[in-house]
């Protein structure tokens, strides 16, 4: 097991190298704005732009820039300096992680609380009216763009512009240090919006897997042994069917922490990683793009690892020692 984890960590590190290299290549080879020109302003002469390019170290060969960058990360945990904000990339990212984590974990809890029971009930009562209506609703939620859903929720419930002004609206995010109520209140709408589509996806996944699993021989055996139906469903059915959902959860959390909650953060003005990376791309801020991407890749690797470990607990058929 330990060897397996070690091997996965090493693979993760290799992947981070790969990701960082790919980002460098994309930035330099594909058309993108020139950071030196953007910094110089519209009326700068080519000489002035060259001086800026030199001062930012952008005149050096790309490979040298890349090696220096990676050295700084590995030996000093220094992700460089944002061209746009004129401050260290790591401080910017750490500053934005709190809001993104608040949004992500809260929404994840919510979509699990909604998606799993709906998935189970739909599977157990497959083709019933309840099943069909929950699946139609879930399809609608999956189809609704987060941006649209967010705006609708603001126009309905936000305490400043809403028709029924009962919940804090855009720009009201407070950190946890402001107190649990002050923190959670402004997140209720974003959590709900972000969780809605995911809950629907999880419900459909679980339903589909559960229907397959509930037709397996060992389920029939369990029933034949006289186990109560609740136990059959929860202990044998759900436990087996939920593993793909766990995989999905790990990826989703990793991806959201990497900045993929960008639309939700934008609509609700939550100062998270997603909005940071959007601004960075707009301004061709390579150090910041690189930093956020590496952090994102790191989270995805970590959560994949967590998922693999969770398998061992949920599915006894997995024998990590044999891997």
């Amino acid at each position: 097991m330990l060897e397996y984890i070690l091997r996965r960590v090493l693979w993760g590190v290799a992947m981070l190298f790969l990701v960082s290299g790919v980002i460098f290549v994309i930035f330099y080879l594909l058309p993108s704005a020139d950071p030196a020109t953007l910094r110089a302003g519209r009326q700068a002469s080519p000489d002035q732009i060259e001086r800026i390019r030199e001062s930012l170290g952008l005149d050096r060969p790309v490979f040298i820039q890349y090696v220096d960058y990676m050295k700084q990360i590995f030996f000093h945990f220094d992700f460089g300096y944002s061209y746009q904000y004129e401050t260290s990339v790591s401080s910017l990212i750490f500053d934005r992680l709190g809001p993104t984590a608040s949004l992500t974990f809260g929404a994840a809890i919510l979509w699990l609380l909604m998606g799993i029971p709906i998935g189970i009930i739909s599977a157990v009562r497959a083709r019933s009216l309840l099943d069909r209506s929950t699946m139609v609703i879930s399809l609608a939620l999956i189809s609704a763009p987060v941006f649209w859903l967010g705006l609708i929720s603001l126009y309905l419930f936000a305490d400043d512009i809403g028709l029924i002004p009962i919940l804090p609206g855009a720009g009201s995010y407070e950190p946890l240090s402001a107190g649990p109520i002050a923190w959670a209140g402004p997140l209720i709408l974003p959590w709900t919006v972000l969780a809605a589509a995911s809950a629907a996806v999880y419900a459909r996944y679980l339903r589909s897997d559960m229907i397959d699993v509930m037709g397996e021989d060992y389920i029939r055996t369990a029933r034949a042994k006289g186990l109560p139906e609740r136990k059959v469903v929860m202990k044998h059915g759900v436990r087996s069917a939920i593993t793909p959902v766990i995989t999905l959860l790990g990826l989703d959390i990793g991806v959201l922490l990497a900045g993929n909650a960008i639309l939700t953060e934008s609509v609700f003005n939550i100062p998270g990683v997603g909005r940071l990376v959007l601004d960075a791309i707009d301004k061709a801020d390579l150090p910041l793009i690189q930093g956020v991407t590496l952090f994102g890749a790191f989270f995805i690797v970590i959560f994949n690892l967590v998922v693999d470990i969770a398998y061992a607990y949920l599915d006894p058929r997995v024998r990590y020692d044999d891997l």
């Binding site: 700068a44 080519p46 400043d160 003005n269 939550i270 100062p271």
Partner: protein, 596 residues
């Protein structure tokens, strides 16, 4: 040209989208739309105290006054810093003394400009000392350092004696601010600018921008030695407000992309300043990506004004009817145009260009910006409120027949195509024209309209929408990219002088291999010579007339299709008593107050 919240010329995409999407809501003219209030003075009973909130989509460009070059940043910076000259809310003609004690004196030969600066102006904590003339000299000189990279002193102050030597000096050591020998400080209250030619008119206007706000060298040089300079994280204010900071000067009230918290500068002396500074605090709340909900929040909320975005069409319509007293439409001092590459066949033919201009429906283009309230339809390049506008023809235009009909004139276009040698009145060559435009939603509409226009004239066009930064840096700003049409270009004044609008953009001597802003690559000797002469004029009337004449000459060359002189909507909450700064076309935070 500083970045503008309205023009598609280098602004974060969300704010551009918002601003370009003005609504058609009636009542427009060239200058501010008169159906709406345009307060340029505080009410007599304006009250002190309270917090004004500024909502914005994105962050300012730079906190460092030496680097900032963005209309929204200037809105904040004019409340924090005191340049030698600045623009009181209602002033549109001449910048007024700010840090300077009086208007500058100009020597008889027009080559020496002398300022006396006010006594008793102090830097905010932790610097806590009186401002001297040396602080202004350092502020300008550090702008040449690549770590600060001021975007306009190279264009407007290169006439200073010793400017080239200073550039050589900074090339050899980019960590130290170079000495510009033409800036002299004979005593603590006097600063003298010595020019190699009579370019004092431009210099004086440029000294009304934040780069002339003093910077204390002994405090800033440790930050300036880094690249980029980190002085922006430690700025020392001189105006009525400062960003919250700690004992060492590090800004604790600036969270990039999130919030800027301005508080009163304890060292500011109201007796030395015309600004009343009514509010106790100003908080800039950033990240409002959806301008519609943010605008509604302002209109229905309390104590708020807009920052870098304007209300989109639906909200502007609502504001113009339900919240009429909470909307103002000052002119931005800029125009938008479609640039045609005058060096590239077949657009190198004047008649072809005239045909394109004649054929285009500028009313349709203006609808992409929101219609009438978005601004007047442009027909030359000096916008309203800038000296030379009326003299160049005002709203009636210069008389060019190809710009006479705003809805387009296909018959006239066909005539011009025939004059260009295309007997059918349509292009019959094989060249495919590359058209590049910004890829925001409203800019794509502009691209589509132009695509349709060119196709009607028989052209084959390869239309490439790209991000705005890429459009300027990789395509339109790089002549080697051989872009025939830059569909979404525009230019905003830096100050109220036509030179800042016409010289960078249409002077053939300014065509650069990269970062070129003469997008049409217009290079007409008579125009270049006229600009060289006009730049040296110091008499305002002569100057105005000369630049108006240049505007007519440029328009006659049809290097670009001007289609709108933008308005810049300002909105506020009901309990706010706003004062609009006509120069910056935003709320003036030093004069705006909360109602009782």
């Amino acid at each position: 040209m500083k970045r503008n919240k309205a023009l598609a010329v280098g602004v974060a995409s969300l704010s551009i989208v918002a601003m370009l999407a003005l609504a058609s809501c009636g009542g427009s003219s060239g200058t501010a739309t008169t159906d709406f209030p345009l307060p340029t003075e505080a009410p007599s009973d304006a009250q002190k105290g309270g917090t004004i909130e500024v909502l914005s989509g994105s962050d300012i460009d730079y906190m460092d006054p030496g680097a900032s070059y963005y209309q929204f940043t200037f809105m904040i910076h004019y409340a924090m810093f005191r340049p030698l000259l600045s623009w009181p809310p209602g002033e549109t003609k001449t910048p007024q003394p700010d840090l300077a004690a009086e208007q500058p004196t100009i020597s008889d030969d027009g080559k020496t400009v002398t300022f006396k600066i006010r006594e008793g102006v102090k830097f905010a904590p932790p610097v806590d000392r009186d401002v001297t003339s040396a602080d202004v000299k350092y502020a300008i000189e550090r702008g040449l350092m690549p770590g600060v990279a001021n975007g306009y002193i190279g264009a407007y102050m290169d006439g200073l004696d010793g400017f080239d030597a200073a550039i050589e000096s900074v090339e050899s050591d980019p960590t130290v601010a170079p000495d510009i020998s033409g800036i002299k400080t004979p005593d603590d209250q006097t600063i003298v600018f010595e020019l190699t030619d009579t370019t004092s008119a431009t210099l004086i206007q440029a000294l009304s921008l934040p780069v002339s706000a003093p910077v204390p060298e002994e405090y800033a040089k440790q930050y300036d030695s880094e690249s980029p300079s980190t002085y922006g994280d430690h700025v020392a204010a001189t105006g009525p407000y400062m960003v919250e900071n700690d004992a060492k000067g590090a800004l604790t009230g600036y969270e990039p992309g999130k919030e800027i918290r301005l508080v009163r500068n304890p060292n500011w002396d109201s007796s030395s300043d015309a600004r009343p500074a009514y509010a106790d605090r100003i908080t800039v709340k950033e990240g409002y990506a959806d301008s519609a909900s943010a605008s509604r929040q302002i209109l229905t909320g309390e104590g708020q004004v807009n920052g870098d975005f304007g209300p989109p069409p639906s909200v502007l319509r609502e504001a113009a009817t339900r919240y009429k007293e909470q909307l103002s439409l000052p002119t931005s001092g800029g125009s938008r145009y479609v640039s045609l590459n005058t060096q590239l066949a077949p657009l190198d033919d004047l008649n072809v260009r005239k045909a394109v201009l004649a054929a285009t429906n500028r009313e349709a283009l203006r609808l992409t910006a929101g219609g009438e309230a978005a601004g007047a339809i442009a027909n030359h390049f000096i916008p309203p409120d800038i000296p030379g506008f009326e003299e160049a023809g005002g709203f009636d235009g210069t008389g060019a027949d190809f710009l006479e009909k705003p809805a387009g004139d296909l018959a006239l276009a066909a005539e011009y195509m025939k004059k260009a040698g295309y007997k059918s009145g349509k292009y019959d060559g094989n060249d495919e024209l590359l058209m590049v435009g910004d890829d925001s939603a409203s800019s794509r509409q502009i691209g589509e309209i132009m695509l349709d226009t060119f196709q009607k004239l028989g052209f084959k066009v390869n239309y490439r929408p790209v991000s705005q930064e890429i459009m300027y840096t990789k395509f339109c700003g790089t002549p080697a990219a051989k872009v025939a049409i830059c569909a979404t270009t525009g230019w905003l004044k830096d100050f109220n002088d036509a030179e800042s609008l016409l010289d960078p953009t249409f002077n053939g001597n300014n065509i650069l291999p990269s970062n070129n802003v003469n997008w049409p690559q217009l290079d007409v000797e008579s125009i270049n010579d006229a600009m060289a002469k006009a730049a040296l004029l110091t008499d305002q009337d002569e100057r105005t007339k000369a630049w108006a004449d240049i505007d007519r000459q440029i328009t006659a060359q049809a290097p670009a299709l001007p289609w709108i002189w933008d308005n810049s909507p300002v909105i506020w909450s009901e309990n706010v008593a706003p004062v609009i700064n006509l120069f910056n076309a935003t709320a003036d935070l030093s004069y705006t107050s909360l109602k009782k």
